[in-house]
């Protein structure tokens, strides 16, 4: 993409190349699968631009070595990240280093490029970004109404219970009814000594799809306004013994231990086919059998991985059987994998368009053409005759705690909430500060670091367990706390307001942070009001991906407010044409940095917050 001979670039990517990358990440070939993305990309670019200076770092951009000093080297930073956490991190570092940031994202046919310059435009966090989708525990354990609920159950509960860490807390037997039988039920999932594997499989099947459903079904309250689920027993679905089944079993199928698959074993070849209840049940039992027969060593340590064929088969089968029970339609392995793996769909063309637009903005930045900076949206459907829609950047949000250092307010019960709660639920979860330093005035209440001595570490550990008002430097109503992240050079001031009572349903954390807005995740269930906890699909909050494709823009419904070009907070449609000297090849540009941080195979996520505020319409997420 770059033809400037004097350009130097540094590329950071922690990921390795996978087959599914190859449909769009064209610097990579089949022979590169397994190798470092940063390194292979560097080599590929040098082939057609040998004079360029490129340094490749096979590393995580959140590594402390990429500190503010590091970022200060650059004239511009280009992001091609796939998770919110990393984007926020880079955003803060760019602000601290005062380096312009060109952000971008794509999903399917949608994409966008935005420019962020400290003091001149919004930073990446000025507009709230949607949180990862979570589901109430109740919906997952007792009252699923969508296939995704069944997937989460199969993946985070059943799979985890059977094959994951046994010491991990698991809600599999949590029921809205009485818990008296739960002590007995704990033994159910453990395979008895010398128990026949087929028998074990059917026992598990009958317990989770039969017995548990019957028990849940008996609670009148739950089903007053809902259809009761039907219990399913293996004997009803598969009356014959598994080994005697005829028809689809591939008799000559040699099971390759390196690619163990229940589908292959049963002759179900097409991942796009939707299995019947019978097929799903067979896969369920066969997959369980194969785990024990071929991968026994891993049992107890397994976590779900979308590239683990057998795990995907098991989860699909289990989700399908549960779906059948609850009258939800079954899905193919292909679809289930996408949901369970949070796979973001991606094509080469959108990425090419966005890449071109990134370079165009980067050049404007290098030329310091401030008036020309644009946020550009690549639309799937023509809107106001446009497929590519440029928008002038907004001014910084004065109440953005990241770039405007506006203090936040926190309502909390200072006699009941501990410092630990504050650190986990506010500092880390909401503010995205993973290595915090917390001060009250000049008193250090808590910090993390390698250079702490034993006494300090013990001190801070003790502080975490104290309620706020009992801390060595008591935190009470009216206290101002300062939270810092040294790596991100972010300082955040929080005004503490004591409050006695919190609504258990609406404020389950017992805290209310204001002056900081997070876009609410689109809740499709009204039930969420009744639940205290929620389960995310995938769990890890650092992988904040939307579970469904962004289908944001409503065609033909954009409002155009024409404004003179000037950076008002409202939308202005493009600027007046003027000559852009974009092809001056004689300039001696310094460094350009490109960051790619594909944690897994998932590609970039589109954030359409700006369009939302323009159209006042919420995204449709189903």
């Amino acid at each position: 993409m770059v033809s400037e001979r004097q350009l130097e670039a540094i590329k950071i990517d922690m990921d390795t190349i996978e087959v599914s990358n190859l449909n769009r990440q064209f610097l990579f070939r089949q022979s590169h699968v397994g190798q470092s993305k940063a390194k292979v990309a560097r080599d590929a670019v040098l082939k057609f631009r040998p004079q360029m200076s490129i340094t490749a770092h096979h590393a995580n951009v959140k590594d402390p070595k990429f500190n503010v000093e590091f970022f200060k080297q650059f004239n511009v930073v280009l992001n091609g990240l796939d998770n919110l956490d990393a984007r926020r991190h880079v955003n803060r570092l760019c602000l601290a280093a005062d380096v312009p940031l060109v952000e971008s994202g794509t999903t399917g046919f949608l994409g966008q490029v935005t420019v962020h310059v400290k003091g001149k435009t919004e930073c990446y966090e000025c507009q709230p970004k949607p949180a990862p989708k979570t589901y109430p525990v109740c919906t997952i354990t007792s009252t699923p109404s969508k296939f995704v609920h069944c997937i989460v159950w199969a993946k985070d509960l059943l799979f985890a219970k059977l094959f994951g860490d046994k010491n991990q807390e698991n809600d599999l037997n949590v029921r809205s009814s009485d818990a008296s039988s739960s002590a007995h039920a704990e033994d159910v999932f453990v395979r008895r000594k010398d128990e026949d594997i087929d028998q074990y499989g059917r026992r598990i099947y009958d317990h989770v799809f039969g017995y548990n459903i019957e028990v849940a079904s008996s609670n009148e309250e739950t089903w007053k306004n809902r259809n009761r689920p039907k219990p399913i027993y293996s004997a009803d679905v598969m009356p014959e013994n598994l080994t005697e089944q005829n028809g689809n079993v591939a008799k000559n199928c040699v099971v390759d231990t390196s690619s163990v698959s229940a589908m292959a074993s049963l002759g179900l070849k097409n991942p796009q086919d939707t299995w019947t209840l019978l097929e799903s049940s067979r896969i369920f039992l066969e997959a369980l059998k194969l785990f024990f027969a071929k991968r026994e060593k891993e049992i107890g340590n397994l976590s779900f991985d979308k590239d683990d064929q057998l795990a995907v088969e098991f989860v699909t089968a289990a989700a399908n059987i549960r779906a059948a029970s609850f009258g939800i339609s079954l899905h193919s392995l292909f679809e289930a994998k996408g949901i369970a793996g949070n796979i973001v769909h991606a094509v080469a063309t959108t990425n090419a368009i966005i890449a071109g637009l990134i370079v165009i903005e980067a050049i404007k930045v290098l030329l310091k053409d401030t008036d020309k900076y644009r946020m550009t949206y690549c639309l799937e459907h023509i809107t106001k005759k446009m497929l590519l829609m440029p928008v002038e950047p907004y001014e910084p949000n004065k109440s953005c705690y990241v770039c405007s250092e506006t203090p936040l307010s926190l309502e909390i019960n200072t006699s009941r909430s501990k410092l630990r709660d504050f650190v986990e639920k506010i500092v880390k979860a909401k503010l995205g500060i993973n290595f915090p330093l917390i001060m009250h005035g000049s008193n250090l209440l808590y910090e993390v670091g390698d250079d702490l001595d034993e006494v300090e570490v013990a001190n801070y550990a003790a502080n975490l367990e104290k309620v706020l008002s009992q801390l060595p430097s008591p935190v009470t109503n009216g206290t101002m706390l300062t939270v810092e992240d040294l790596q991100q050079e972010l300082t955040c001031n929080i005004n503490i307001k004591h409050r006695e009572e919190f609504d258990e349903e609406k404020e389950p954390d017992g805290m209310l942070l204001s002056g900081w807005t997070q876009a609410p995740p689109a809740k499709d269930d009204k039930q969420s009001m009744n639940d205290k906890q929620s389960i995310g699909n995938g769990g890890d909050s650092s992988n904040a991906l939307q579970t469904e494709p962004a289908d944001a823009v409503k065609d033909g419904e954009m409002e155009e407010i024409s404004e003179p070009s000037g950076k008002k907070r409202k939308l202005s449609e493009g600027s007046k044409a003027s000559i852009l000297d974009a092809t001056d090849g004689t300039r001696n540009h310094k460094e350009v940095e490109k960051l790619d941080d594909d944690d897994d195979d998932d590609d970039d996520v589109v954030m359409f917050d700006d369009l939302d505020s323009m159209t006042n319409k919420k995204k449709r997420l189903q």
Partner: protein, 324 residues
């Protein structure tokens, strides 16, 4: 539709895009045959996109020898004489493209595009032409239209930091998603000749200025017997004169086609690589839509200009022949 399933290899490679357009569309792509003529930077980008998408075959035509100008904007040509020496642009690009996706048959066709007959074009489902005269564009388009099977026709050209795409899908039936349901639709496209014959006054007042500017340059090059892009600042006075004449003939105010835009397009002889990526990406998407019959294709001109950053669609068709 087809009985053939995608192979395991295809399913693994194309997983992320199958999630966008579905297995059926992917199957159609794998059976499609594309012809491309005139390989500059934008077309190189387009070729990369459709090879990655997994079309059945791609045939390249460009007998020009490789020059510094060629490899400066075409990333398929390494700047290494040991590699490109003695080869035509098409040949070098062919070698590079094969690498992107071994499942796509990429080949070179030599010869003069306009001398080839209908039987030749019948082998393809999509024809994309670039860097050729307006006469050639009309000619190829007509040859495609005469065939009994529908051959989609596209032109694409980038000058300076602008780009233009023209689309002719003749009579195109497709499906599109509206909320939860699938709707069947149809579009009728005018030929290239019909489109550029539409009187300028019939076009909306705010129609992209690029449309008019490029038509002026096209005419100029045609009249002077120049190759596309074979133009310099010395030609500016003559071009402006032609512009005035065309505007008069079309009863359009001469100021409607800005002199500065024409000047810019004349001076900027080379393509600008990020524009190639953008326009090549849009074109790739359009071709995929045409082959898969999924999604509403653009009708019938697309313009991109770095100056305003907009990617605009213009419908240049005669109202009488229009029917949806």
């Amino acid at each position: 539709m087809d009985g053939e399933e995608l192979t395991e290899q295809e399913t693994a490679l194309y997983d992320r895009q199958i999630r966008v357009w579905g297995a059926d569309a992917q199957r159609r792509l794998s059976k499609s045959h594309i012809l491309v003529c005139g390989m500059k930077g934008t077309v190189a980008e387009f070729c990369k996109n459709i090879v990655l998408a997994g079309v059945g075959s791609l045939t390249l035509m460009d007998d020009r020898v490789v020059t510094e100008e060629a490899w400066s904007a075409n990333f398929l040509i390494p700047p290494d004489e040991n590699v490109y020496g003695g080869k035509t642009i098409a040949e070098v690009c062919c070698d590079s493209l094969k690498d992107f996706n071994p499942m796509v048959r990429v080949s070179v066709e030599k010869g003069d595009l306009s001398s080839l007959d209908g039987e030749f074009y019948d082998k393809f489902d999509v024809v994309v032409v670039s860097c050729c005269s307006v006469t050639t564009k009309k000619l190829i388009n007509e040859k495609c239209r005469k065939l009994s099977k529908r051959v989609a026709f596209y032109t694409v050209d980038c000058r300076d930091s602008c780009g233009e795409i023209f689309v002719d899908l003749q009579n195109h039936k497709y499906s599109k998603q509206k909320i939860e349901e699938t709707i069947e639709c149809q579009l009728r496209y005018p030929s290239f000749e019909e489109a550029i014959s539409v009187p300028w006054r019939a076009l909306p007042r705010k129609a992209s200025k690029l449309y008019f500017a490029l038509r002026v340059l096209e005419q100029f090059e045609e009249a002077e017997g120049r190759s596309p892009g074979e133009i310099s600042i010395a030609d500016l006075p003559a071009v402006l004169k032609l512009k005035k004449e065309l505007c008069e003939a079309n009863a359009l105010n001469a100021s409607h086609v800005t002199d500065s835009l024409l000047e810019r397009l004349i001076i900027g002889t080379r393509e600008f690589t990020p524009v190639c990526a953008v326009v090549g990406g849009i074109l790739g998407q359009e071709v995929i839509k045409a082959i898969s019959c999924k999604g509403e294709p653009l009708k019938n001109f697309f313009f991109f200009d770095i100056m305003d950053g907009k990617g605009v669609v213009e419908d240049v068709s005669s109202p009488k022949k229009e029917s949806k």
